[in-house]
Symmetry: C2
Subunit: 334 residues, 2 copies
């Protein structure tokens, strides 16, 4: 058995690989009282006195490394910041590991570092340590780990949604993945599409500070909204009903999805959050989100139910089960 592209795509094949080869081999996977690897949340936690340290890591390889709306540096900072923020933590420090291919132009590295700096300032999170290696990689690989802090016991888990909660998405879906796909495949589309990559910590803090009860939260990255909602369902034992017409999506992503035969629900986002919020707080959450530029297209897209344990979408032509994708969305036209 060999590793295929699909094993790294945030879908079922990746989940299986992680469960079998990673969880299946590791015996020490948590710190007492903290969120461990087996929870498969956006990060793990280490309780310390009356606080809880949130710890996360993401490796970033993207082709092309510069794309409309961002670059691998911005992506790497946002990846760590957002996984901490969706666990309810305030990111306090990042670490930055670079694996650079021989012959990589130093001025490209400089551009990437400038972008990392801008994003670190936008998020307000310093980079306090790092590592640099030169090796045989096709293009630069950036791995960022992050630590965040929250009050002990205040970590927001994937598993936390409750019956009747509303499901909120902070804005238009599919923009990162679709931008990358277009940039990579050199399709003959004229497009103004840009990646949504953005640090979400300030947006999310605003929601949490408003007193809204957020029961579960994820950043719908690889695997898109479809993967994120399914994880919330599997981990909570409850179901989710969503409404197609409520899902925020730009006309551009919509028509590209149709043209390419891709389900936009399975396309990656890098600047969106999906949350399960106490029903009574739903409108308030929406209002707070919409008052921030990164949340202006936020929508309540559905609710949590207990009569099934799936993600079900109501469309104009009937109900459809939204499954976790196997791997990357593959354009039907290629």
């Amino acid at each position: 058995m060999k590793i295929t592209r699909m094993h790294g795509a945030g879908g079922k094949l990746m989940q299986e690989l992680i469960e079998k080869v990673i969880l299946g081999n590791l015996e020490l996977t948590s710190v007492e009282g903290g969120v461990g690897l087996r929870e498969l949340d956006d990060g793990g936690t280490v309780p310390l006195g009356d606080r809880e340290i949130i710890f996360t890591i993401d490796g970033h390889t993207v082709k092309p490394i510069f794309f409309p709306g961002g670059d691998i540096g911005k992506l790497a900072v946002c990846g760590a910041v957002n996984d901490i923020a969706v666990m309810g933590g305030e990111p306090v420090a990042l670490s930055l590991s670079l694996i650079i291919p021989e012959g990589f132009p130093i001025d490209k590295l400089d551009r990437i570092m400038k972008s990392i700096n801008e994003t670190s300032k936008e998020a307000g999170v310093p980079i306090i340590t790092g590592d640099t290696k030169v090796s045989n990689v096709d293009d630069i690989v950036i791995t960022t780990a992050g630590i965040g802090i929250t009050e002990r016991g205040k970590v927001i888990r994937d598993s936390g949604m409750k019956e009747r909660d509303v499901i909120i998405v902070s804005g238009n879906i599919g923009e990162h993945g679709m931008t990358i796909l277009l940039a990579r495949e050199n399709f003959d589309f004229k497009s103004n599409l840009k990646s949504d990559v953005a640090p979400l910590n300030k947006l999310i803090k605003k929601v949490l500070d408003s007193g809204v009860e957020v029961h579960a939260m994820k950043d719908p990255t690889r695997g898109g909204l479809a993967s994120a909602l399914n994880e919330m369902v599997e981990k909570s034992g409850l179901g989710i009903n969503i409404y197609e017409e409520k899902i925020p999506i730009s006309e551009e992503v919509q028509s590209l999805s149709e043209a390419l035969g891709i389900d936009p629900l399975t396309v990656a986002n890098e600047g969106k959050v999906v949350m399960a919020v106490k029903k009574e707080d739903g409108e308030k959450a929406l209002e707070v989100l919409r008052s921030h530029p990164l949340g202006r297209n936020a929508q309540i897209i559905g609710e949590v139910v207990s009569d099934h344990k799936m993600v079900v979408m109501e469309t104009l032509v009937g109900r459809r089960i939204i499954d976790t994708p196997m791997g990357d969305p593959i354009p039907r036209v290629c």
Copy 2:
């Protein structure tokens, strides 16, 4: 200007690159009161109440990925554990990022994960979060970040050595780098050489718990003992005198170094620690180190002086300045 191998080799070229392109671009590089990126220590720190969180990251690419004495998985765990331990912290959690090439055999991944598990158990440190990507890399890349804890203000800095301190090395030098070189180049040497890769947290804890005053500490990885000692010199503004005959080195590494024309002081170690210890505590530190299997060849190799700001080695034929290497040691015979 382009990136060359030497930019990733732990020597002067890497230092220059980091200072210019990384430090030169980043504006947020520390958390108030903590050790920041500008200190260029083994990691950074985040003060939290009466504790200090130590944070570190290392990317690991090694060819071959399985080598005598270890493999990339063991290396990745030890890399993070040791950078925390040499800052005086107790490692409490690791994160594990994998970048896997397409076509990589899953049974190799399984072997690596088993080795990661064994090392995590040996060190007593859990892996609480991770990430898996599939991308165009020549071979698997493993990046580990780690967090450790110590009492606030108890962080042991590279810069901390004091006049009259003794310099101690925990065992034979050069074994990791030399093993990799032999495995890679397919030299025609018969050799029993093995990498020294090992988690040092328990050894170091033993020393610290014994009450010995350790003023500065580093793991002499890339760039070897020569880089580590020079960093301690540059950061403290003091000098170090060492004695060639005191430096612990196996006959095998010694004769290979001579044959290949490589200075063993510049060769990487992955299971050694170098410390500056209060003179009066030197013998005790040595005793504690030697009572642990990973420290049985520990030696006092020199002392800290204030009459120069270099690393100077006394040899049978006179004194020699030990400089920071430019980059990787290159065998003269290739």
